[in-house]
Symmetry: D3
Subunit: 238 residues, 6 copies
Amino acid sequence: MRPSLRPADSLRTIQLTRGYTKHAEGSVLVEFGDTKVICTASVEENVPGFLKGKGQGWVTAEYGMLPRSTGSRMRREAAAGKQSGRTQEIQRLIGRSLRAVVDLKKLGERQILIDCDVIQADGGTRTASITGAFVALHDAISGLLQQGKLAESPIRDFVAAVSVGVYQGQPVLDLDYLEDSGCETDMNVVMTGAGRFVEVQGTAEGEPFSEDEMQQMMALAKQGIAELVARQKQALGL
Amino acid sequence: MRPSLRPADSLRTIQLTRGYTKHAEGSVLVEFGDTKVICTASVEENVPGFLKGKGQGWVTAEYGMLPRSTGSRMRREAAAGKQSGRTQEIQRLIGRSLRAVVDLKKLGERQILIDCDVIQADGGTRTASITGAFVALHDAISGLLQQGKLAESPIRDFVAAVSVGVYQGQPVLDLDYLEDSGCETDMNVVMTGAGRFVEVQGTAEGEPFSEDEMQQMMALAKQGIAELVARQKQALGL
Amino acid sequence: MRPSLRPADSLRTIQLTRGYTKHAEGSVLVEFGDTKVICTASVEENVPGFLKGKGQGWVTAEYGMLPRSTGSRMRREAAAGKQSGRTQEIQRLIGRSLRAVVDLKKLGERQILIDCDVIQADGGTRTASITGAFVALHDAISGLLQQGKLAESPIRDFVAAVSVGVYQGQPVLDLDYLEDSGCETDMNVVMTGAGRFVEVQGTAEGEPFSEDEMQQMMALAKQGIAELVARQKQALGL
Amino acid sequence: MRPSLRPADSLRTIQLTRGYTKHAEGSVLVEFGDTKVICTASVEENVPGFLKGKGQGWVTAEYGMLPRSTGSRMRREAAAGKQSGRTQEIQRLIGRSLRAVVDLKKLGERQILIDCDVIQADGGTRTASITGAFVALHDAISGLLQQGKLAESPIRDFVAAVSVGVYQGQPVLDLDYLEDSGCETDMNVVMTGAGRFVEVQGTAEGEPFSEDEMQQMMALAKQGIAELVARQKQALGL
Amino acid sequence: MRPSLRPADSLRTIQLTRGYTKHAEGSVLVEFGDTKVICTASVEENVPGFLKGKGQGWVTAEYGMLPRSTGSRMRREAAAGKQSGRTQEIQRLIGRSLRAVVDLKKLGERQILIDCDVIQADGGTRTASITGAFVALHDAISGLLQQGKLAESPIRDFVAAVSVGVYQGQPVLDLDYLEDSGCETDMNVVMTGAGRFVEVQGTAEGEPFSEDEMQQMMALAKQGIAELVARQKQALGL
Amino acid sequence: MRPSLRPADSLRTIQLTRGYTKHAEGSVLVEFGDTKVICTASVEENVPGFLKGKGQGWVTAEYGMLPRSTGSRMRREAAAGKQSGRTQEIQRLIGRSLRAVVDLKKLGERQILIDCDVIQADGGTRTASITGAFVALHDAISGLLQQGKLAESPIRDFVAAVSVGVYQGQPVLDLDYLEDSGCETDMNVVMTGAGRFVEVQGTAEGEPFSEDEMQQMMALAKQGIAELVARQKQALGL
């Protein structure tokens, strides 16, 4: 029995609220149960130095947690003077995941900066971030299409993410904080709408996992992501 | 005529939403019109080094803005590796303002850390932060009283803040971003429920201001803060 | 009775020594009693990035304290790797105060960098800095006029600063360190030669202050600044 | 045909040279073809703050590259003043991988710090690091056993790592730099001697990958790691 | 002919002004011609971590330059967020030089922190710093003797420093900025009152120097330092 | 008797292994006994900002130590976020020493970056670094000559370095770690093939040294450097 009492293959309540704040070209509040992340997409008409004059665009991401998004207060990274290794790992993952479904040449010489800021954390902040960030990105690109700055959408597919794990010997989907802290294995999976893998990151927290457990986790992830993509489509009215 | 069309002595719509996030001992979403700030109060059973063994507590604050809380995206301070001078000035102001109404000896050897994170900015983020942070602090202290950790409340009075300015020669109350960018003088005033001053910070952005303008701004601030304290009481059910 | 034995409305001995060091375009040692600050003005024929091509100049300031300018040694900020919030607050204040009396368009596309370095501290370092920095700035601009780089002075008025406070219930002028540490309220006031306000920054260190105390402090500040401007004129031979 | 002309399932030449430098408790030069990494294990009779008094030990890792270990010179991280996100990701991975096969309780209240420094890079530096670091860790622990500081080895299994990928549609084992830069998918797999997974990190650099490709890559990784563990045993004379 | 018109073996005008600022236990303004440095000695009743409980004291130094102590303004190190390599080299040299003449055991478990801050630079700031710092250190130690905190002086000898160089083929003593920028070789020599060497640091800026030039520079340095030690004694009334 | 049992005027076993790693334009493993340093030379077709358009090149150096190159593990500078004062002193010394024998005008508008990374330390890492770096630099320049990018070698002379010291009253050559920690005086000497001085840096660790000791140390250094230059020529096949 999971602490959340959910069946092994059940997602938490998923909410995607578009237009959450007013300034950004895309702004989404994503909720995976009690995990809440503000995802914004900002369009800038320039590219990083390493892409100048290459005829392509860029999508990148930054991630942060409000100090008291967590059970006990974390030190503010701006006050500490640096981003932790965990923060950098997550923001690199979000950026790669989104770039996997964007045709950067079609985006033109501009960049879209994604900001994912966790206002309440209860496990799965990186998977919620990717899932919400895709919707914010989609809105920012719709804006570019409407303004005639893009003739054709550079978005090639949907992308969403979910965590799976082995909790007390049982493969389960979409772990909350209690489950995540107690599980033997934690795996984050990022997949496209077409069911192909963008990222697979599995870590044995305790006991190393078997090939069989790996297979079962992959199957749960596949099903969960299909549901998340359906929620993204619904939120976008597609 | 103000860009906001408000009368000169009129506040924006004020909202104070308690219990906005679930982990913090106090958590308030404060809205001054389109300015929205999450204020949390975290209780820690320790004090900073310089107060160890002095038999008193501490209240301090940190402030941040989400990168896209503003019209154009600001650099994330955690990525830049330091907090700007403006950020430090604001968080020092919030801390001083709250300490002015707390009896630190009665608080005992513990500290309350306030985090004010702007999720949408439209002028007056520091005054909204102080006004919201007081309510979060009040909730955190109520919790300590309920748990029996405090026998008596260390809160001596209410405290709230508002901006006043001279816009096109006219003293006005509670400036939004458009008014703030265009005004000659900007003054932030922090006052107690009893109508005494905690902080007065007036800056001539353009033309230096006269004693007469100063008097009129002070009168507007006094009235505005009385209204804000009334809203705090209402939100707290007092 | 003030610790300094001065009457409530009396400044400390004020000295303004021009040409204190030989390299800077303006170089002034300012003394407010035992508080001693070296203020230099450096002219650079360029402007910060955000002003490039805007047809105007800039005046900015940096502030520092020698580690043993104080009673007990402070950590050197260069060794600590960052400037404290207090330092940043003060240097921003000095810069704003000077810009308030300079016509930046008339200055042309150049900047004047003010450095205020405290060699001995006894209260009021920020007000002494502003008062001395104006004289250094005036000398730097006189140099530009003499060299024919400026046809007309961009200086629109004098500017000086003084602290006022409430010490044991009594409003007093120009607090030294002992008075400053013991006072209930501390207010720094920056005014022009014409008697208009540039900055007012009042802080209740202990008990919040009343409107009446505010009025009395403002009156003392006004008188003190008139005296300081007279000393600036005398030092400049005007 | 792979650029390296190796068959799809073939590792590069693997060398594990123990006792490579003289000061460390374990010191190994690991070579995966032209990739060369010095792995040292340092024993310290203390634990990080968060483990004080918990009756267990710790294993952690740091990773670096000599500036000219690569084709064009990289900026020295010590001069840049910070470690890149990539560096932090890799050193966290090395630490987790080793901890997965160490019984931290049996290690006692001491820590083993692993340093992996790349002196020549040709792809796969993180997998070579993990594979070599295990041997250095083993030597350090043998020393503790010989000195009687440990009664029983805390090592529960072997651990090694290898990269797999999809190169021009073909799943291949142990990619060198040329193959890595040109591949569609790159996956790093960390497994134990018993054939269980510790980490799986797969990233689609170009086209997202299918479940079938995933299966084939996993099979190659399994075979490669079995060979690497055999080489570790041989090097250790076990 | 030297730019300064001084004979080859002539020092600049040397001034040592004790009691220059009021807070420090020792405070000296040292002038070598137009080079002016404030040297303070601060006594602290503790030692750095690596000396805790070792029954000895410590003497260390920090060095800085006011931004406009030089012909063109230098970036403030506190604003840059770090001390340059040159600054660190100089402050390490000052510390070593002073420790060479102090019996650290006799000093007891306390440290003396020297701060050398250049207010006007014209070549030779490090040699002026050492020469002035010794006098400030002497005053701080006299204070400890007078207060009965030390029974016996830990000072074993005098120490002073001077630069020598080869300017247009001619060995010269105590180079000013113009001479220093134009010389082929620059050597800083630190010697005791007894005429023994503490530090010799010679650098060929242009052409490497011969043994013969080396001998001549050493002779000049020896003579110059004897004069500087005489000036220190005179300043201290010894 | 020296701890190393070597005669007073005897170098350790010297090895210079060219082509040690494959990517750099020059790559040398230098060994002075148990001290082992990888020296690489990287050619870049640009110059630092301060030399842009001046028609000359630049040679500069960086230095680092692997954390466990030493008896007890040192903190990794990249993790600490800054290079120590010692590191900066050494890398500045290496750069100056090499520039002393290179005609920077003949090098053209390009720079050669030297990296010296200590993989095993046993005293004399800076002198080994200079001696090895010269050989790496020579190889990089030979490459430029072979590629026709340079018509004439900008190398004007050989340069090598050695330490000398006074150990138990006896001047000795090329100190290892044990000798270095126990000596009264430590002097690093950098000389050209023609026997002229580039740098002399002598420090009294304990008792200040006499002129006579200075002379003897200089004579030992001269002899040692002649031997090192012979080894450089042999390694380069000259």
